[in-house]
């Protein structure tokens, strides 16, 4: 304790508040060569503390005196500390700005309060977009609903009872829950999630399928038909459990919208009772509806788009294609579809199964057609016709959606090209907000490569390209690049699928035919 040097002084007429002095003491004590430092006003308590440190204040020190007490290893250290003290006592005010404002909101509820304050309540109507993991989606969406905000829930893996609770609460409050598992919505032209750039129009969509809605909007765009709204409702809304809660709300709202002339309802195969109820509701509302409910024996999306064209009294449309049909015919037997859009995959499977029978898939039309695809996108289907949805939950765990990250599918594309069984490859490409900024940049070279590898057996590549003229990726540019790589490109997914099926050598049903009713729901 007694090594080195001690320094004790009192300074009269110097005052600083105790907190400042505590900080200064801390600063001095941290200096090299200083073993103890206490700078404090000479209050009885502080004098006691100093005594405890073995640095007694001079007799007569009063509460208005500043006491400086230092213990240093040497005089040089002491002098450095005194210099530091001088500068610390002169600069006490901060030059920093006082206030950084409110911190960013951490909950949907507080963000909504913040947004309402910012807009002054005059313009804009709040819409919440939830894409947190499924086990947290309910909480954020519930914030939105109870605040009277409409909400898009992109998240999947939300428990169905939470979906039902959310939608019941929403109905009570006059707001719409779009989702969960809602990939696409367009409200007043604003594309949410994966959505295409559409011109305003007088047709609105109610969509239980994200890529289905995108595809339909792309076809309508090609036909010169604009879209007013596309209200996503989530892939499960038209199941028996959820009972079309959001579909019904959306339908009623669009029926009351003076700027919507025609509604298209898009869904993967819905529960039959729910579909019937919804049809009755549409009749009762007197709203014109084109139904695009996929499934065996149901019109495909392209047919539905044609019905819209017809309903609006427009001339029939020839859907655009790019690239020329290869003159060579494949000699290998198998058709392989590699999809990023679940509904596009579904639609292609229905079309293929009608001619080819069994189509193996990770999202099979029939349970017995199930294909075991592992998390790394690997499977072995032998020589069977196969269609795989790379956007399926299992393949997107911990990985971006294939519409954003094409790696997995492009790897598989080359593997298929090397498979001597494979004669025809069917791919989809989906453009729009949220999707990869230039999918053809990597897919076109991969297609060239694949065609080269499978050239000896006449491998053919058919692409279904979903996009609108206004999409940021450039529909024509993407189509041209893919066609230049040797693919035949169709805007219509159904036409692409039929084209691919036609290319399959000996395209006759091999196992059981699919004209009978499917057993169980498709998904």
């Amino acid at each position: 304790m007694s090594t080195g040097t001690t320094h004790i002084e009192t300074r009269t007429g110097v005052y600083a508040d105790s907190v400042t002095l505590m900080q200064i003491s801390k600063r001095l004590a941290a200096l090299e060569g200083i073993t103890a430092a206490q700078v404090a006003m000479g209050t009885p308590l502080n004098i006691e503390v100093l005594e405890g440190m073995g640095l007694p204040a001079p007799v007569g020190t009063g509460p208005n005196d500043l006491v400086v007490a230092l213990r240093a290893l040497d005089d040089a250290a002491r002098d450095r500390a005194l210099a530091e003290l001088a500068s610390a006592l002169t600069v006490t005010a901060s030059s920093a700005g006082l206030d950084g404002g409110d911190p960013p909101p951490r909950r949907t509820a507080s963000a909504l309060e913040r947004a309402a304050q910012a807009s002054g309540g005059s313009t804009g109507t709040p819409l919440v977009v939830v894409s947190v993991p499924g086990d947290s989606a309910f909480v954020e969406a519930h914030d939105a609903v109870t605040a009277g905000s409409n909400v898009v829930v992109f998240s999947d893996n939300v428990p169905v009872e939470q979906e039902i609770a959310l939608k019941d609460e929403a109905a009570r409050r006059g707001v719409l829950v779009m989702g969960p598992d809602c990939g696409t919505a367009v409200v007043s032209g604003v594309g949410v999630g994966f959505a295409n750039v559409v011109a305003p129009g007088r047709v609105s969509l109610v969509a239980a399928s994200g890529t289905g809605a995108q595809h339909l909007m792309a076809l309508l765009d090609a036909a010169g038909i604009g879209v007013r709204h596309c209200l996503g409702i989530g892939g499960r809304d038209m199941s028996a459990a959820v009972g079309g809660r959001s579909a019904s709300q959306a339908l009623r709202a669009l029926a009351a919208d003076p700027s919507t002339d025609l509604v298209v309802v898009v869904s993967k195969p819905p529960d039959a009772d729910v579909a019937a109820r919804l049809r009755a509701e549409a009749d009762e509302l007197g709203v014109d509806v084109v139904w695009a409910l996929l499934g065996f024996g149901q019109p495909d999306l392209t047919t539905a788009a044609g019905q819209v064209v017809e309903h609006l009294g427009l001339p029939a449309v020839t859907w655009p294609t790019w690239g020329t049909d290869a003159s060579t015919r494949p000699s290998a037997p198998a058709l392989r579809g590699l999809f990023v859009g679940g509904t596009l995959c579904d639609e292609a499977m229905v079309i293929a199964a009608e001619s080819l029978g069994e189509v193996r898939s990770n999202i099979p039309l029939r349970p017995e057609w199930a294909l075991d695809v592992d998390g790394a996108g690997r499977w072995d289907a032998g020589d069977a016709h196969t269609m795989v949805d790379f956007g399926d939950d299992r393949l997107t765990e911990g990985r971006p959606h294939p519409m954003i990250d094409p790696t997995l599918r492009e790897e598989r594309l080359l593997r298929e090209a090397d498979d001597p069984c494979v004669g025809v490859l069917l791919l989809d490409v989906v453009l729009g907000h949220g999707s990869h900024p230039d999918p053809a940049a990597t897919l076109a070279p991969a297609i060239s490569d694949a065609l080269r590898r499978g050239g000896d057996r006449g491998l053919a590549v058919v692409v279904s390209l979903t996009g609108t003229k206004g999409d940021p990726q450039g529909l024509e540019r993407q189509a041209a690049a893919l066609a230049a790589a040797g693919a035949t490109v169709h805007l219509s997914n159904a036409e692409a699928a039929r084209h691919a099926v036609q290319l399959v050598p000996d395209a006759v049903p091999r196992k059981n035919t699919a004209t009978d009713e499917p057993t169980g729901g498709a998904r």
């Binding site: 005059s122 007043s188 594309g191 750039v197 011109a199 604009g226 700027s259 003229k469 206004g470 940021p472």
Partner: protein
């Protein structure tokens, strides 16, 4: 290195922005709005006005809202040459791509809508009160000399479906006043929108014809920006604040009145109040042509709508 931006465009610009690229010139520039005049794509077409604006700027019906920028992220001086079309606006230092279309605010002049002039159940009961509220919101306001009389004559002629007389009344005052949109032009726009809203489909053809007649020679009388906005007004399109106020006043779309009127009159430097003057002129006329719509009002009430309007000619 060219800058790349994205934006959201009014659907009124669909033909201009999605058509083949054509030359354009900057005709007005500020920190939150740049106005372009796109050359006619072929002889006989009109030149088109395109406004590049931030979210904070007034969203005129020919606006492209530049994404996520305040103020505008680029500088375009008047006289600068650009290309407009194929979904984008392009110049030597940048490209602005349209990635969203929004519906321009439009008054209810669509077929099937009731013509309130001919509808005995039209909400005239509320009209005097609403007009009084707007007049109070505008406060003392003076239009350039000759404008109020011209507006009165035009309103009367329009109601007779006499677009020629209305145009003749308005033509001499176009361009009077200062600014990018002169006072007289704003007032005329207000009158056109009010007539379309009040009449439903009833007068839309007349108003459109009036717009077409005014358009002839418009470039020589007023600024390019004002001329472009007047064309939109004749088609029923305006800034959302203006359209909301007009629709509220005519009872088409009930709203928070104080807020709607406040938003209208605080537009621009004097644009909002000038526009309100045109709206008031047309709608006050609708009171006087109906049978005693104000009999229930206290004759000493200074806000009585049949008191002389605050809008007067300057001394």
């Amino acid at each position: 290195m060219a800058g790349r931006w994205t934006g959201a465009a009014s659907d009124a610009l669909l033909p201009v922005l999605t058509g083949p690229a054509r030359p354009a010139t900057v005709v007005g520039a500020g920190p939150v709005a740049v106005y372009l005049r796109a050359e006619p794509s072929r002889a006989g077409d009109d030149a088109a006005l395109v406004a590049l604006v931030t979210r904070q700027a007034v969203r005129v019906p020919c606006a492209v809202v530049v994404a996520d920028a305040e103020p505008l992220p680029f500088t375009l001086a008047p006289g600068r040459r650009l290309q407009v079309g194929d979904g984008s606006i392009t110049w030597d230092a940048g490209v602005l791509t349209v990635v969203r279309w929004w519906p321009a605010a439009t008054v209810t002049g669509t077929p099937g809508r009731t013509d309130l002039r001919r509808d005995p159940t039209a909400p005239r009961d509320g009209l005097p009160r609403r007009l009084a509220a707007l007049r109070l919101a505008v406060g003392p306001h003076v239009l350039p000399e000759g404008v109020p009389t011209a507006l009165e004559r035009a309103a009367e002629a329009t109601d007779r479906r006499d677009a020629a007389t209305a145009a003749a009344a308005l033509r001499p005052v176009l361009g009077l006043g200062s600014g990018l949109t002169p006072s007289a032009d704003d007032a005329v726009a207000g009158l056109l929108l009010a007539a379309r809203s009040w009449s439903g489909a009833g007068l839309s053809a007349t108003v459109a014809e009036l717009g077409a007649r005014l358009a002839a020679g418009l470039a020589a009388r007023t600024t390019a920006v004002s001329a472009g906005l007047l064309r939109h007004a004749a088609e029923g399109r305006g800034a959302p604040e203006v359209v909301r106020a007009v629709e509220h006043l005519t009872g088409r779309s009930p709203a928070d009145e104080a807020q709607v009127l406040r938003e209208l009159v605080s537009l621009g430097h004097s644009s909002g109040r000038d526009t309100a003057a045109g709206i008031l002129t047309y709608l006050y006329r609708q009171l006087t042509v109906t049978n005693d719509p104000t009999s229930h009002l206290d004759p000493t009430d200074p806000t009585r709508p049949d008191h002389p309007p605050l809008v007067r000619e300057s001394a």
